[in-house]
Amino acid sequence: MTSRIDVSIEHRNVPEPPGKHPNTCPSCSSHYRDDELEAALWVCPHCGHHFTMRARARIASLADEGTFVEEAADLRSEDPLDFFDLRPYTERLAEAEMKTGLGEAMLIGQGIIDGNPAELAVMDFAFMGGSMGSVVGEKFSRACDSAAQRGVPLVSVTASGGARMQEGILSLMQLPKTVCAVEDLHDTGQPMISVMSHPTTAGVLASFASLGDVIVAEPGALLAFTGPRVVQQTTREKLPDDFGLAEQNLRFGHIDAIVPRPELKAYVAQLLRLFSRSGD
């Protein structure tokens, strides 16, 4: 066996350096109470830094009040590989559910966005780093079907470190699974608006998230297949300052726009109006 480049490419990109309080702004070090950040859509009122946003808060910020109807809420991961690293997968799952109050790293359901009916598929980074296992793949796939059946667009909001390693190769299979689901949706003529929030990396970036008819990112979001740490470790290259960030992705032509969170709902609603068939 010869020496070879290490190719550990999927990798969870931790959004904030560990140790700091989650409500301390990593950009300007201002500190906030939960309710302050909640009121500001988790955007630092001082410097504009976009904190990672939880899935339910995200839905509340996009869907008109009281319109969201969750779907497939009961789906839960199995442990097809009997996976055990330092702890069993089942234990990690239970802990994640306890901690987040969510059954998985994605919520899907029907909602109305500024008067425009849509299907929503929203990820939550707090649930095992937003990693994509069988349930995330299945939920996204069902969201596509629900959108197709009701003849409405799909709006996805991603936040993911990549694959769910504990599901092994089945995790990789969620890439083609979600890709095929988007293609089935497209065949019915419905669009997908992809909103990439921090971080959208690895398997999620390399599948459905990149297939949006329009791709919008939040400011400062890391959007990379391989995160900066692994790239640096592997290639010893000097990385550009904005390596993998939304701003770089825009410059390189990968995304359509960077939209600050307070303007996101109006922006998405405008797109939904433009894509609506009825022409109203």
């Binding site: 066996m1 010869t2 070879r4 480049i5 290490d6 190719v7 550990s8 490419i9 999927e10 990798h11 969870r12 789906l75 839960r76 991961s77 199995e78 097809p80 590989l81 996976f83 690293d85 069988s134 299945e138 796939s141 390693m165 504990q166 599901e167 092994g168 190769i169 089945l170 995790s171 990789l172 299979m173 969620q174 890439l175 083609p176 699974k177 890709v179 095929c180 293609e183 089935d184 690895a202 398997g203 970036l205 390399a206 599948s207 459905f208 990149s210 297939l211 990379a224 297949f225 391989t226 790239v231 592997t234 290639t235 290259e237 550009p240 390596f243 993998g244 770089q248 390189f252 990968h254």
Partner: protein
């Protein structure tokens, strides 16, 4: 150089062949039947056997795409370039005659010596490589050539330029294109089927793996580095996420296993090619009678069914 280990492995595979699962490289598309057969297999691969496959899949003498191409396809013409920015040597495309008809071939390609390894970037395509593959897929679709895809990539390339050139998006779009093709697609993992780099060209009607190939969501070293915080625990990681062909078959991720010669494909490339050729032929024959629109529909349905949840 057949070790004790290899002998045991051969024995177990001989049993599998008796189950008519791999006999003459037989491929069955019926998942249920396969799974019933698998239930009869008492012994799952041991951790040692899994690691042995990791080693064989990466063996420096293992046949690569062009080794098979040269043995299997007549009138082979290699095509080049993504018709845009580059000709990525980590991935070869071309046309050849197989079983009496023209097929389009795409395959990851590693290098043999230092110079070729560098030229082929250790088999890791850049985004331009995926574009090159897509160019061939469009050609295949237009001219109704079945597509054969050979997978042998450690993983997508972790480099600055690869990110700047939109690696994630190209991998997604390559899969999307494959899900739209109306020609038969057969894929075989012939070495390492590493993560996004592999799946980019693996959305096939029939997905095969060679007996000692591995198919992984992340390299064992990468997995170990993250979960055990120690890349040296790669063997432990491999045992945990089970990248071997039998487990992939059991999980429904692949449709069949292509036998290798005693001791691994590198011990007898001619025989390895013959066995691979048989499997490809059988798969293509199964698919050729299916209407184009049905092919596409079933392909999508198959991938959309993958996953285990409750």
């Amino acid at each position: 150089m057949a070790t004790d280990h290899e002998l045991r492995l051969r024995e177990r595979l001989a049993r599998l062949r008796n189950l008519n699962l791999l006999g003459g490289a037989r491929v069955s598309g019926e998942l249920e039947k396969l799974q019933r057969q698998l239930e009869r297999i008492q012994a799952a691969p041991t951790d040692e056997e899994i690691w042995r496959s990791v080693e064989l899949a990466r063996h420096q003498d293992r046949p690569y795409t062009l080794d098979y191409v040269n043995r299997l396809f007549d009138d082979w013409v290699e095509l080049h370039g993504d018709r845009g920015r580059a000709d990525d040597h980590a991935l070869v495309i071309g046309l050849g005659r197989f079983n009496g008809r023209t097929v389009a071939v795409v395959g990851n390609q590693k290098g043999r010596d230092i110079k070729e390894r560098t030229d082929r970037n250790f088999g890791m395509a850049y985004p331009e490589g995926y574009r090159k593959a897509m160019r061939l897929m469009e050609l295949a679709d237009l001219h109704k050539f079945p597509l054969v895809s050979l997978i042998d990539i450690p993983g997508a390339y972790p480099g600055v330029a690869a990110e700047q050139h939109g690696q994630g998006g190209q991998i997604a779009r390559s899969q999307a294109l494959m899900s739209r093709l109306q020609v038969p697609i057969v894929c075989c993992v012939i070495g390492e089927g590493g993560s996004g780099g592999a799946i980019a060209t693996a959305v096939a009607d029939r997905v095969l793996m060679q007996e000692h190939a591995i198919y992984t969501v992340i390299s064992p070293e990468g997995c170990a580095a993250i979960l055990w915080r120690d890349a040296a625990q790669a063997k432990k990681a491999a045992a945990a996420f089970k990248p071997d062909a039998l487990h992939c078959l059991e999980l429904g991720v692949i449709d069949g296993i292509v036998p290798e010669p005693e001791g691994g494909a590198h011990t007898n490339p001619d025989e390895a090619a013959r066995l691979l050729g048989e499997s490809l032929r059988e798969s293509l024959e199964e698919l050729e009678s299916i209407a184009p629109e049905d092919l596409k529909r079933r392909r999508r349905a198959k991938f959309r069914s993958l996953g285990v949840y409750a």
